[in-house]
Subunit: 129 residues, 2 copies
């Protein structure tokens, strides 16, 4: 096995990932994403109906999410339908996985010994793509 310390694979451009997390870092936005993801595409008015804030606020949030690539919209008649962009969220997920794994490695090095059984489900760490 490669004795090479694996270079602690720096997660792909973290400068690219930060805006992603920033977009998810608002309660209202997270709720929107959750709703769009679980209940399917909705128009702005529909989304605003269930929310605590104004329709315009919702619009702004959707634009932020859109800029982060997490959602996209299409005009349909006189309404605009928003839906979710699965790939982009997967990016964020993979990023966290990589970070998680780096930590495990670093922790392992710090502890200075290798535990017999593989600690947890470190199956994430295999560079699956």
């Amino acid at each position: 096995m490669s004795r090479k310390p694996r270079r602690a694979v720096k997660p792909a451009g973290f400068a690219h990932a930060a805006p992603l997390f920033a977009a998810l870092g608002d309660e209202t936005r997270l709720a929107l994403v959750l709703r769009l993801g679980s209940a399917g595409p909705h128009s702005i008015a529909q989304l605003a109906a269930g929310a605590a804030v104004t329709r315009q606020a919702i619009t702004k949030h959707l634009q932020v999410l859109g800029a982060a690539g997490l959602v996209r919209s299409a005009r349909l008649g006189r309404e605009r339908i928003w839906n979710v962009e699965a790939d982009r969220l997967d990016e964020a997920r993979r990023f966290l996985e990589q970070m998680s794994c780096q930590w495990d490695e670093a922790l392992g090095r710090l502890k200075g010994f290798v535990e017999k059984g593989n600690r947890t489900d470190a199956s994430f760490c295999k560079p699956r793509n």
Copy 2:
């Protein structure tokens, strides 16, 4: 055993997850977390040495990360050593996984048919904990 029919498992309190993502949503902070995670614990001065901003700025960011539970610190002599809190990041990761899976489910429902082969590595979706 509760036999609730899967109810599209709403990811645990998203109100709880939002601040986590918010904390990760800054480039400087993300870099800090990355560095602490891959290179092990550092003092504030050490972290500030490699950064583009002031030591005080670094301190603030560390406090934000600390408030989100992503890092923690301990006084050691006259310096304060920060290190990473792996569990908390795992929470974020799991949250994204759940979201991801909800999406797959919803997409499946929308398409209205079940594909023969399991689409991707949807192994995430198994409620592993």
